[in-house]
């Protein structure tokens, strides 16, 4: 880490209970090579113990530290301050969108977890059931391959919810399953899990997506949910066409 010091204004979203949200500014001296979460933790440690935020792993695994940083969804534990502001600049820190705010920077992500259960991808399941390989799935070309046989990084969703926050239509469609959930369904594939068809082939399933691809743009884990939603559409359409021609 360099010795360089920056002065950065953290403009932090605050909201308690049913109170009105407001922004509170904390001016910190930071190293630009620190991460955004370091600043948030320092605010909590030295300025205001009532600040509520979430984190666990500090290394992009738990998915708990998602926030909007200057209007863009970020895992704050891997977002270097240098990459999102400048010396003397501002960092606007807000909770994820499209989920209810519990307190300050923490949101209720039930929407995501309930959806994951609906597509039989619960947060916790035995390794023997983990859908590590999908049948008939063509991952995007930039997905690295392991010796030309197995596709890597297919099961990488860390359920951080960034994609649901970034989606421009998830706010006006509360029942929309959302990118991560549809990606989890696509991962299993309709061939392998035909019962998923009725869960995803509906207005609040694959057809709610309006192709903004913001989910893919913010996903910190290379899941590429935008591509997966479109691939799931393709699977749904293929199934329908088969049915029209009398197939199973």
């Amino acid at each position: 880490m360099s010795e360089e010091k920056w002065t950065v204004n953290f403009v932090v979203y605050r909201k308690k209970g049913d109170g009105e949200p407001h922004y509170q500014t904390f001016t910190l001296e930071v190293s630009p090579d620190e991460y955004v979460i370091d600043g948030v933790e320092r605010i909590w440690a030295f300025h205001d113990r009532s600040l509520v935020f979430a984190h666990a792993c500090h290394h992009s695994t738990c998915g708990a530290c998602g926030m909007r940083v200057n209007g863009v969804e970020k895992l704050t534990c891997i977002t270097r301050i240098r990459d999102v502001t400048k010396n003397g600049g501002t960092l606007r820190i807000e909770p994820l969108r499209n989920f209810p705010v519990i307190s300050d920077l923490v949101v209720d992500m039930s929407r995501l977890y309930v959806g994951m259960d609906k597509v039989h991808a619960p947060a916790v399941h035995p390794l023997s059931l983990a859908p590590l390989e999908g049948e008939g799935i063509k991952p995007p070309r930039d997905v690295p391959m392991d010796g030309g046989k197995e596709y890597l990084r297919l099961a990488d969703c860390i359920e951080c919810g960034l994609c649901i926050s970034a989606c421009p239509v998830a706010g006006t469609a509360e029942e929309y399953l959302g990118p991560a959930v549809l990606a989890a369904a696509q991962l299993q594939g309709l061939k392998r899990a035909p019962d998923l068809a009725e869960v995803v082939d509906c207005v609040d399933g694959v057809w709610r997506c309006h192709s903004a691809y913001e989910c893919t743009a913010v996903c910190p884990s290379n899941v590429d949910p935008g591509w997966r939603i479109m691939d799931l559409r393709r699977q749904v359409l293929a199934q329908r066409i088969k049915r029209w021609f009398g197939g199973a």
């Binding site: 909007r68 209007g71 499209n98 209810p100 421009p168 903004a212 691809y213």
Partner: protein, 131 residues
């Protein structure tokens, strides 16, 4: 369990159109939605006008005189730009929805914008020449 505090953190319809922090695909979506609304409003006005024209030759002539005003021509130009963008982007989205060329969605969007520009220029020049 449902209380006001359970409402999702969103500005609703405003979030459809806010380009801040959004990226290429998101801008494409915003433009598509704006042009869709614009075209729908235009279609309505167009049908009202057509209804007027059915009232006879005088109505037609006065409408044509009206339509030659620069402001109206500017409006027509917007309809062409919006229509070209919306239609071409519709093809992009339809292709993507069949699982085709999704990883190239950004490049396709640039292509859509380029064709919209070229098409609009050709139309604009012809409109000026005919004037």
């Amino acid at each position: 369990m449902e209380s006001p505090a359970k409402k999702p953190n969103t500005r609703g319809i405003l979030d459809w159109f806010d380009p801040r922090g959004r990226q290429v695909g998101g801008w494409g979506f915003i433009l598509n939605r704006l042009t869709a609304i614009g075209l729908t409003v235009y279609l309505y006005l167009h049908l009202v006008m057509l209804g007027k024209l059915a009232q006879g030759p005088e109505a037609y002539d006065s409408f044509i005189a009206f339509a030659k005003q620069p402001l109206i021509m500017f409006g027509e130009m917007l309809v062409i730009i919006g229509g070209l963008y919306h239609g071409l982007n519709g093809v992009r989205i339809a292709l993507n929805s069949f699982g085709v060329a999704v990883p190239a969605q950004k490049q396709l969007l640039y292509g859509v914008l380029g064709l919209t520009l070229v098409g609009s220029l050709i139309f604009g020049l012809r409109m000026l020449a005919a004037h």
